[in-house]
Symmetry: C2
């Protein structure tokens, strides 16, 4: 809709603001009869079993490197302009986001080249939270995956394999979420290179997802898991939330990646349904 | 994952770049055996019937006001840093995006307050493309909706009602998409205020969506449809793509709104399934 610049061009910003204030009040009054509690959500079966796996996109969510958080500013306001809008300055790998193959691989596919059908897939949730609470450097291993399959059945082809480590609960404390030690090394769980190779080769997965800053464990300086996964033309999803409330098998994950031009990945709204 | 700043802090950017290049090549070779054509999409029934309703987010998509397009810059590169990433500067109402109630209504709900269950709803597609081709100022009327219901059945509660006007095909030509005349007035279709009020009151819809820049027609200077819809605590979706390929009834729309902090709305990846 109309922005500050177009209103300026049209020379009617003042008139619009006054009109907006009046009409807005009228609309609120007119609509009172039909308002429902917002938190009630849709009725009729739609939206049942929909879960949000996305952290709110704030300027205080932990960045991989302190200082790389986004900034935002108010661009127009209802009081001055008739409507409200912000402008953001943001890196593609902040908050809940996707790593496209082109993030690490020269000539690898970028955000607009990941098709809708690749972004809606079955989900398998590997729970290593108890072990991660004792050892933040732990990783998802081949043994974890085999243990998962004994309990929940074979991981289907084209699945998103998601690590639940309990880390999302730390997102309000960037130091705890990054786990930075005195020497500057990070400590949080991730996928082992061996498990990643096994899942690609034997289960032909579509993606890996984690509730931490990286699909590699924090201590990694070589990013083997990233290189193996993106080298296989598959993608990663980082900083997921809400994995504790997801069934371990049987859910479908919907990765709403913003299709940034030549994007190395980018912000995504991630839902699950079952 | 690790960003330029954290690599600098760790003092290992050079070593990482070299290692990445080597490991990346090895990973590509190792994965060749399991690569599938990217365009084939997932097998096994998942992703069947998933359609993308989102325009790629480029810097040349038509902004409501020329000059308000986003900018992007390369932040790090695989050659220099071991991986590739862009930074974006962007307004919340560019490209395929949501208008939250707080966009127009003081104290109205903002992006993080729209629940997942509200963003996944049944979709009803009202086709006015033939009329819009003759008259770009046309609107969706109450008669259009009643005609739709005679053919496709009653619009369910909490639906997304989507206008298909054929405008998405013009997105490569900003002047045509905006329809700006010599006097600076815009010309593209939208929802009439009357139809919006009728849908809210009699069908208790959840949202309106359009394949144009605004849920109001381009000629509007008072934004009545925005004010009525957001005044009723409902949201809009603008610049949708692919509505020509959607069933007129029976689809579910998934609005992957980025949950911007205090957002007036924002970029969204929008899918439909059926």
């Amino acid at each position: 809709m109309c922005t500050e610049e177009c209103l300026k061009q049209a020379g009617r910003a003042g008139a619009f603001s006054r009109r907006a204030a009046l009409a807005g009040a009228a609309a609120i009054a007119a609509s009172a009869v039909m308002a429902e509690p917002a938190q009630a959500g849709p009725k009729g079966g739609y939206g049942r079993g929909v879960r949000d796996l996305t952290h709110p996109l704030t300027t205080t969510f932990p960045a991989f490197a302190p200082g790389e958080e986004p900034s935002r500013r108010t661009y127009v306001t209802i009081e001055e302009n008739g409507y409200y809008m912000q402008e953001w300055r943001i890196l593609e790998h902040y908050g809940t986001h996707v790593d496209a193959p082109g993030h690490f691989i020269p000539g690898g596919r970028t955000s607009t080249e990941l098709a809708a059908a690749e972004l809606v897939t079955p989900a398998a949730v590997i729970d290593i939270a108890a072990r991660a609470a004792r050892d933040p450097d732990t990783t998802v291993t081949v043994a974890d995956i085999k243990g998962y399959e004994r309990r929940y059945g074979r991981i289907p082809r084209d699945a998103a394999v998601l690590m639940y480590s309990g880390w999302a609960a730390k997102a309000g404390d960037p130091d705890a979420y990054r786990g930075t030690d005195a020497g500057g090394t990070l400590h949080f769980p991730g996928f082992s290179a061996e498990a990643t190779e096994w899942l690609l080769r034997h289960r032909r997965i579509r993606s890996l997802g984690v509730d931490t800053l990286s699909i590699d464990p924090g201590v990694s300086s070589t990013f083997d898991t990233h290189l193996i996964l993106t080298g296989a033309d598959r993608y990663g999803v980082e900083n997921l939330a809400g994995l504790d409330r997801l069934p371990r098998s049987g859910a479908t994950i919907i990765v709403g990646l913003i299709p940034y031009q030549e994007g190395s990945g980018g912000q995504a709204r991630v839902f699950a349904t079952w």
